[in-house]
């Protein structure tokens, strides 16, 4: 899984059926230091993550399809959690409340 930050949303009405009625979040990907790596992904929101929140993103099809309960479905990236805290080498890189 990857850690990211929700920085935007993507609105789409013409799309593959699996994305109907699902919110698409634009997420910056974060490195182990908690900083943006420059990469990003569009992920389906499965937990109602809010703007600016640090989130946990699965980026693998089989798991994603189990979450949305549809097979086959062209889906990989799904937001599956909100990160409260992330500690690396003993240092909190994502502190609670940020």
């Amino acid at each position: 899984m990857k850690v990211g930050r929700v920085v935007g949303t993507v609105v789409s009405t013409i799309n593959s059926p699996v994305f109907d009625y699902r919110k698409l979040l634009l997420c910056d990907l974060l490195g182990p230091d908690g900083e943006a790596t420059g990469g990003y992904t569009i992920a389906v929101d499965a937990i109602d993550a809010g703007a600016g929140e640090m989130v946990l993103i699965i980026d693998e099809g089989n798991g994603a399809r189990q979450i949305v309960g549809q097979d086959p479905a062209p889906i990989r990236a799904v937001v599956v959690g909100v990160v409260d805290e992330m500690t690396v080498d003993g240092a909190a890189v994502i502190a609670p409340g940020t």
Binding site: V6, G8, V11, I14, S16, A43, A51, G52, G61, P74
Partner: protein, 94 residues
């Protein structure tokens, strides 16, 4: 999934079984700010409605083939949606 812009089309009459009737489009991947990033790819059109110049989003790897009627085909990029709007969210305090 990533943002992309359709910049062209590819016509191939001789191709692998199951790819008949699948529109092949040339997509320029975009970064989060919709600036071109990386090399264009040929993507199958999973929504059958993407036209030149359109802002789309596409999926890569095995999942791309799952956007098509025939899911066991050699496709590694597929357009899975046309973007109406993107909205940058103010990333204020949580």
């Amino acid at each position: 999934m990533q943002l992309g812009r359709v910049i062209g089309t590819v016509v191939a009459t001789v191709k692998y079984d199951g790819l008949e009737g699948i529109k092949l489009l040339i997509v320029q991947p975009l970064d989060r700010h919709q600036e071109p990033e990386g090399r264009p790819v040929v993507a199958a059109d999973g929504v059958h409605m993407a036209g030149p110049g359109e802002l789309i989003y596409f999926v890569g790897s095995r999942e791309a083939a799952q956007a098509l009627p025939e899911t066991f085909v050699p496709v590694d990029h597929a357009i899975v949606g046309i973007v109406d709007a993107t909205e940058e969210l103010a990333t204020g305090g949580a």
